[in-house]
Amino acid sequence: MTNLECLRGAAAPKSHNARTIAALTTNPGCSRRAVMDAAGIDKERLASHVGFPARFGQSQFAITRGNVFEAQLKANGCAELLRLLREVLALPIGAAAYDDLESVNQLDARADRSRELLTRAADGDEDAGTLFDHPLLRLEVGGRWVYLEPDLIALQFGGKFYVVEIKSFAVIDGKADGTKVSAAATQSAVYVLAMRRLLAEAGYDPGLVSHDVVLVCPENFSNRPVATLVDVRKKLSVLERQLARMGRIDAIVDGLSPSLTFDLQVDDAGVPQRPVAELVDGMGQIDARYSPECLANCELAFFCRHEARGSTAALGKSVREELGGVSSVSHALSLASGAVPPAEDEIEAAEMLRFAAKLRSECLS
């Protein structure tokens, strides 16, 4: 058993997907998350067992809306989507073959079939089709193969591949929520990267896959779709760098106690039996880099926030920075009140804090 398998224990691994790979870029300094994801640990279940459940519920209204929107786009052989792609990519009218790869059952068979079709398309074989629905791509992440499922890959006739991402958030008067667009762009960049590597391995020019992805969203307050090209070059360079750094996880894991495990010891009734204290202690052995932004991004965030109590980082990066980098709340206050003398590397911070404390007391008295 590898170290990572020991960490996960008996549970089936949670596999990476485009969303979790994208998460590698949201807090790449966090070792805890990196190790947990690499080991395929079910963070949601772990967090819940230790008493800090994540709150990432999804409303059925949102799910329904997303499904309806995608189904509407893909109805009749992607008729509506094709109309949009013709506009935004100048696809010729005639070239509108459609391949639904979702119907292929077995994962590897589907990946092979996807690969075969896509490389055939790269050969310029017109029969290979124009639209590939739910192809299955593989990407190596930290030494493991991960399966990825883009919404769609479009092949521009005689030209480039475009990844198409369908999202149900609205584009209103040409604008959309920048955070949501950013997340969609990162996810699409994962697909672009996987597709480029697939082509490169098969001996093709990876540049055949465009760095512009097609984002399809509902327009204004309607169900009518609108397509926008999004340039994901910056996302690609960040992703490539973070994937290249995955090797560092081995170094982190190697430094952990060999007996460390997050196996929940689920009993026959499906109830985790491992004592919470053991798991909490185990998590404590892997450094986290908590910041309040984690609350929106990571299943372990509430646990980490609890653990980070009393640290200035828990109040936000800018707070810690304004406090001169002093990392603990109580120490910052002691320096501000002059109760403890500053260490040599704290002299400037302490001076500033004392001045700030003086100003506050002067103005509030």
């Binding site: 870029t25 955070t179 340039d231 070059r233 360079s237 760098r241 973070q242 932004e293 990066k317």
Partner: protein
């Protein structure tokens, strides 16, 4: 190498385009181009001509360079705000008339002023214009002055700092006329067919710096140095005493054109005293060591005096901190990146914007800031930083919002910073503290 000016002027006078853009990397002869373009337009009768710069200092510098280059008798009108007093370099020329209204400028065929001053005019039309430092100008300023001219030459450095606003608003994102964008960005989005020329050679940056700066900050507009390997040399007349890290860094910079003076890793206040002191010490040591700069302009060598050394930092409080370590009489320039734009020295010391930081912010990652700081030197650049910047960059979350229909801007600050740090790694001198 090719002279782009004839092609630029040919495009401008072809009648096919209302504007021409010339991108100029650091030290590529932008001012020279503006002066030559002006005298060429004067001699071929493309007059009257309006010239726009962004600050009063830029306007005055330009006048000082223009007058000797123009045929005698060509009058220059210096449009200025009330209360402006012309500095000697402007006032000494009889052909320059200063006035706050166009009517006060007499029959001047060339009228020059800041964009802000031009924007106060509500009438008048010049057939020709030159807009200098056009990337430093916000597009709303261009909107206010563009009706004053028919055809214009826009000149500037795309790698420098973008204009900014104190107002944070996403109200206009994605609009082609977003007033927060630079003038050139908006100009080109509305007129994508305008010819864009590039000055291909940096006369300022030495052979050791041009490729580094070009690759990191101008990925799609490569340039080279005008001087070749070994054409510029920095020699130190005296040897260092004790051989400390400061001397080692100065020697490294003299030998290779670059040095990274690395302080022990520590999270500090912006005004990191140790780093500020190191900046001051390095700058002084360059002068104390009797550095002599040998170059195409001074083949027999010219001493690197205090006036030829500058220290650059990201924040004003850092500038104040560094200054406090220099004697009051020192002529070493200490300033922020914003204010160092357009200036040139033999040797520069740069306090790295990310030094001592725990987290990077968009401000600190802005590629233009590092670009300005790393491209002011003719001979050598010494970067002062706490250890740990590459790790900080690797840990930086990539979560900035992405807006639809906003062209991606290159270079990306994160990537440019990675590239510069990778280069500096080979020029590292450690201060063990």
């Amino acid at each position: 190498m090719s002279d782009v000016l004839p092609a630029v002027l040919a495009d401008l006078t072809s009648g096919l385009h209302r504007g021409v853009v010339v991108d100029s990397p650091p030290g590529a002869g932008k001012s020279t181009l503006v002066v030559r373009a002006t005298s060429s337009m004067v001699s071929s009768g493309q007059l009257p001509l309006m010239i726009v710069a962004q600050t009063n200092e830029q306007v005055d510098d330009l006048i000082a360079r223009l007058v000797p280059a123009l045929p005698p008798g060509v009058g220059i009108g210096r449009l200025s705000a009330q209360g402006y007093v012309a500095p000697p370099r402007v006032a000494q020329h009889a052909s320059v008339t200063v006035g706050s209204k166009v009517a006060d400028l007499g029959p001047a065929l060339i009228v020059i002023g800041t964009a802000a001053k031009w924007a106060t005019l509500s009438e008048g039309q010049w057939p020709w214009a030159i807009v200098d430092e056009a990337y430093q100008m916000r597009s709303d300023m261009l909107l206010r002055i563009a009706n004053r001219f028919d055809k214009a030459l826009f000149v500037g450095d795309p790698g420098q700092l973008d204009p900014f606003s104190v107002v944070e608003s996403e109200r206009w994102t994605g609009l082609t006329w977003d007033p927060m964008q630079s003038a050139v960005a908006v100009l080109l989005r509305h007129n994508p067919d305008l010819p864009v020329h590039r000055l291909p050679v940096s006369w300022r940056l030495p052979y050791s710096a041009a490729p580094v700066v070009s690759q990191a900050f101008y990925p799609f507009a490569e340039f080279t140095s005008g001087t070749g390997e070994g054409d510029r040399r920095l020699s130190l007349s005296t040897s260092g005493v004790g051989g400390g890290a400061v001397d080692a860094a100065v020697e490294m910079a003299a030998a290779t054109g670059w040095a990274l003076y690395e302080l022990p890793s520590q999270h500090t206040l912006r005004t990191d005293a140790e780093a500020a002191a190191a900046c001051a010490a390095l700058a002084q040591r360059v002068v104390e060591r009797g550095a002599v700069a040998y170059s195409e302009v001074a083949p027999d060598g010219a001493p690197v005096t205090e006036a030829r050394v500058a220290i650059g930092a990201a924040h004003r409080d850092q500038v104040a901190a560094i200054r406090s370590y220099l004697p009051e009489s020192s002529e070493i320039t200490v300033d922020t990146a914003n204010r160092l734009q357009g200036r040139e020295y033999d040797v520069t010391i740069v306090l790295h914007p990310l030094s001592g930081r725990r987290d990077a912010t968009a401000f600190h990652l802005e590629s233009g800031r590092l670009c300005v700081l790393a491209s002011r030197h003719r001979h050598a650049c010494i970067v002062v930083a706490r250890a740990g910047i590459p790790e900080l960059l690797d840990a930086h979350p990539s979560t900035e919002p992405v807006h639809l229909n906003v062209p991606v801007k290159f270079p990306d600050g994160w990537e440019a910073n990675q590239a510069i740090m990778a280069h500096l790694h080979g020029h590292r001198v450690r201060d063990s503290g």
